[in-house]
């Protein structure tokens, strides 16, 4: 089943000429035609002719022996990455017709490695959300269903919910995501796939529509840990156009998977044992600890004392940056414009019509915390707490190599749940936000199903720029868990 392969398997198949990139692309286009109307994982599917032309070019490179590391591999691109000549919406009415004349660095790197783009995947509007409910193009539905309940539509997580649903359902071998406070890891956990948020600065932010600049980081969403390493190799690298991008060399990440983890020290942060944490999540965490012990890791209790301030601090800093980053959507130069008799009128009409409720909430929060008289109490204080959170991680990493936590406090919930209480919705990010605040790499690995038959993920957090150890530990968890479950909606099922 071509739509069920990992990147690594597909790459080997293409190299061995077992199937062509055209066949691989066609299988995915067919799957998209069949399943996307129900899942709404893609906002834009590229024209078949264009996809097949890219695939043919990849086939030619295989024939010539010049194939890149992602050559001929069909993937989805979160619709937050600007793609030259291809509509890029950020799932917002504001950019519903925006066609960038430029290619983001990350997608350009992937194209340079030979990847075949299938389309642009759905997300929460401007990547703000944890359920993919705030997309102006309608919610994405999780391909997983609760056991015995085929009717309740579940959320795929967010904000990279279109990417996670597409990868889980076989509508792409892998997809790009972006993570600001958990937007790669939480949807990966909800959809039973792997998601890696690299170290801040590992992937260039140039050409990726900004939500919160000091937190945004692109990363891979894949079916295996090795795939995450492989795809990150293609995405990452120094970019002179992004002043915050790192000039460190990009290691052969995929080789880190399968390396022995014996003797590595795994920290279990006490503060993540939050009161009210569901039993299934807790049990899965204990299971993960047991697997790593069995693999020869030394498990150590650690403390990250400022964890409990992570979420509140995040919801000051991220909205503050977003309120400024989204000021450019003013109706003057690109995107939606609603005319009005005055300049202020144009701003008000355009932004009221162009932004959805969640985006407006965050712009308002951000504007408030940066306002004169509140800046010191909110933004400045939050920055100080952020420094303490970062220090927590640095201190923990003096004694341990990685941290192991649950990715999210629950499995996927139903569409419409948590919608009336934004704070409840924000709590989804409680385990993912601290690593974002610290800028450290973090990986979500699917490790099992709960009683309702829904996937749960564990999170591995590592030192700055030590994605390799994170991937090694992730690989060990993956091997021990042997997670091979497939969601109810899948290109390989019932075809």
């Amino acid at each position: 089943m071509l739509t069920g392969l990992t990147l690594t398997q597909a790459r080997a198949g293409l190299a061995a000429r077992k199937f062509s990139a055209r066949e691989l692309a066609q299988a995915h286009l067919d799957a998209i035609t069949r399943l996307n109307p129900g899942l709404n994982a893609y906002i834009t599917v590229l024209p078949e002719a264009d996809v097949l032309a890219s695939a043919d070019a990849a086939d030619a490179r295989y024939a010539a022996g010049t194939a890149g590391i992602m050559d001929g591999l069909p993937i989805g691109v979160k619709d937050l990455f600007c793609t030259k000549g291809v509509r890029t919406t950020a799932a917002s009415k504001m950019l519903a017709d925006f066609v960038p004349p430029y290619e983001s660095t990350v997608t350009a790197n992937l194209l340079g490695a030979g990847a075949v783009f299938l389309g642009k995947t759905n997300l929460d509007e401007f990547a703000m959300g944890s359920a993919n409910m705030s997309s102006a193009f309608g919610p994405t539905t999780n391909p997983w269903k609760r056991k015995g309940d085929d009717t309740t539509a579940l959320v795929p997580g967010g904000s990279s919910g279109g990417s996670s649903a597409a990868v889980a359902a076989g509508l792409a071998l892998a997809a790009t995501g972006t993570d600001t406070g958990g937007s790669i890891r939480q949807p990966a956990a909800y959809c039973g796939i792997v998601g890696l948020k690299p170290t801040y600065g590992r992937c260039s932010r140039w050409g990726t529509i900004a939500f919160a600049s000091s937190l945004d980081q692109a990363g891979p969403m894949t079916r295996s840990v090795a795939d995450a390493g492989l795809m990150l190799e293609a995405m990452a690298g120094f970019d002179a156009k992004d002043s915050t991008s790192s000039n460190r060399a990009v290691p052969a990440f995929h080789k880190a998977v399968g390396k022995s983890v014996k003797g590595l020290r795994v920290g279990i942060p006490a503060e993540y044992r939050a009161p009210g944490l569901p039993a299934d999540v807790l049990a899965m965490w204990e299971q993960g600890i047991a697997w790593l012990k069995a693999a020869g890791c030394e498990v150590v209790d650690v403390s990250l004392p400022h964890t409990r301030y992570g979420l509140t601090t995040y919801y000051i800093i991220a909205p503050a940056e977003c309120s400024s980053n989204l000021a450019r959507y003013d109706g003057i130069r690109f995107g939606m414009r609603k005319d009005a008799p005055s300049l202020d009128g144009v701003y008000e009409a355009t932004r009221a019509a162009g932004f959805g409720q969640e985006v407006r909430n965050r712009i308002l929060m951000g504007t408030y915390v940066l306002s004169a008289g509140y800046y010191d109490a909110y933004y400045l204080k939050a920055q100080k707490v952020r420094t303490l959170i970062k220090r927590d991680f640095e201190q923990a990493f003096e004694t341990v190599d990685v941290l192991l936590t649950p990715t999210a406090p629950s499995a996927a919930f139903a569409q419409g749940e948590n919608m009336d209480d934004p704070v409840q919705m924000y709590l989804n990010d409680i385990f993912t936000v601290p690593a974002s605040m610290a800028g450290v790499p973090a990986l979500s690995v699917p490790v099992g199903l709960n009683e309702a038959g829904l996937p749960l993920g564990l999170q591995v957090i590592g030192r700055h720029f030590d994605e390799e150890t994170v991937l090694s530990i992730g690989g060990a968890l993956e091997a021990a868990a042997g997670f091979t479950h497939i969601p109810s909606v899948h290109a390989g099922a019932g075809a």
């Binding site: 309120s323 300049l343 940066l370």
Partner: protein, 421 residues
């Protein structure tokens, strides 16, 4: 203190501070690679960064940083090895990002000073509070269409230095002298062309009035005054307006005002209630600006000679008067010309010729020192001929007009005449 306003209730003095926006001379903009040539067709020098397209990021142009450091050194100011870029948030059609990248809390240059000279010969020191780097906005064109405004983003993102003075200025004349001196220093350094007509140097003027010995009273800011003469006029009329208000028992409101040179008055642009809350915060797209002392030292070592130093040296080296030296160093090109003439010769004689016959001839023929038909070398040779008495000093002076017209090198002409004589 010579400038005061006599009111009904007593004598008022004025307190003025200036904020000068000086466009940095550089090939490309502060955070993008777009060009900066003045007078290009609208929207032809705009990158995706300048137009703030989604996902675009600023990258600092280090030449602009070097220019700011040079300027700071020229102002004898503290160079801050750690500075930071902040976002100043507000909405306007000429501001594509919805924020200006500026330096709010931690500017690249701290306290310095400029010494100014008044017409009566007094020399005063005006403190510099700070200098920071920021982006310029674009320009709105209101005269292209009866109902629409057009936006030209050529200037959007161009690098500016904002140079803030202490409120040390007490007379309109001092403000004029300060601006002229600042412009002279910038031109010597080659960091700003100081062209106020083209807007590459603009001044915001902070004015308040007070009675002797009082603390500062409320000030008003007069925005974007575009000539030195207008700055001096604006201070006079604004100070008079404020005195009038105070003397009538009123209260001066802190506000932003505009100077209307046609009517000779200032009027409200923005009252305090409408003042923007700029919501400054550190720009997360840029790293803190950390300078190495060695680089600053290198820039300092390669700094051109500044006007005050040159003036002192001309006095010492060529034995000319303080006033004459001031005239000769006013413009770098004149100073260079003079020095080429004076070097190895009688400096006083050189000064007499340059400031006398040459300036007169340049004026008469609407030439500048750059377009002078007589080169410094030629004038120098002539002085040599006078010195060795090959020619009579009076002869070339008389024939300068002819010489000028023909624009020929002097030697063959005089040789002929000398021989004839």
């Amino acid at each position: 203190m010579s400038y005061t306003i006599e009111g009904r209730t007593g004598t008022w003095e004025i307190v003025v501070g200036l904020e000068v926006h000086a466009q940095i001379i550089s090939h490309s903009k502060l955070f993008s690679g777009a060009a900066t040539t003045f007078g290009s067709d609208p929207n032809t020098q705009v990158s995706l960064v300048d137009a703030a397209f989604p996902g675009m990021l600023p990258v600092l142009n280090h030449e602009c940083v070097a220019q700011a450091i040079r300027t700071g050194l020229g102002l004898k100011a503290q160079i801050n090895l750690h500075s930071r870029f902040d976002r100043k948030n507000y909405f306007y059609a000429d501001l594509p990002q919805g924020y200006q990248i500026s330096q709010f809390e931690h500017p690249i240059v701290g306290k310095g000073a400029i010494s100014i000279e008044l017409q009566n010969g007094d020399v005063r020191e005006i403190g510099i509070t700070r200098l920071h780097i920021e982006q310029d906005a674009g320009k709105l064109l209101h005269d292209q269409d009866p109902t629409k405004s057009f936006v030209d983003l050529n200037r959007s993102g161009v690098a500016l230095m904002e140079i803030v003075s202490e409120p040390d200025i007490r007379e309109p004349e001092e403000a004029g002298a300060y601006l002229r001196k600042l412009r002279q220093i910038l031109r010597y350094l080659g960091t700003c062309d100081g062209n106020m007509e083209e807007g590459s140097m603009r001044a915001d003027v902070n004015v308040s009035v007070r009675k002797a010995g009082e603390d500062f009273r409320t000030r008003c800011e007069i925005k974007n005054v575009n000539s030195i003469r207008f700055v001096m006029q604006a201070i006079e009329v604004e100070a008079a307006r404020q005195v009038e208000i105070w003397e009538n028992g009123g209260e001066v409101d802190q506000e932003t005002r505009l100077f209307d040179p046609g009517r000779g008055e200032t009027r409200t642009m923005r009252s305090k209630e409408d003042a923007h809350d700029y919501r400054y915060f550190p720009d997360p797209d840029l790293l803190p600006l950390v300078l190495e002392q060695a680089w600053v030292d290198e820039l300092a070592a390669n700094l051109p000679e500044l006007p005050d130093d040159k003036r002192a040296r001309f006095q010492a080296e060529y034995g000319i008067a303080f006033y004459d030296a001031g005239v000769l160093v006013a413009e770098q090109a004149v100073a260079d010309y003079y020095e080429a003439v004076a070097r190895g010769r009688d400096g006083k004689l050189a000064a007499t010729w340059v400031m006398g016959e040459l300036f007169a001839a340049l004026n008469r023929t609407s030439n500048t020192i750059e377009t002078s038909p007589v080169s410094a070398a030629a004038l120098g040779k002539m002085l040599d001929l006078i010195a060795d008495k090959t020619i009579n000093a009076k002869l070339p002076r008389k024939s300068l007009k002819t010489w000028w017209k023909r624009a020929k090198a002097p030697r063959p002409l005089w040789k002929r005449r000398a021989c004839a004589r």
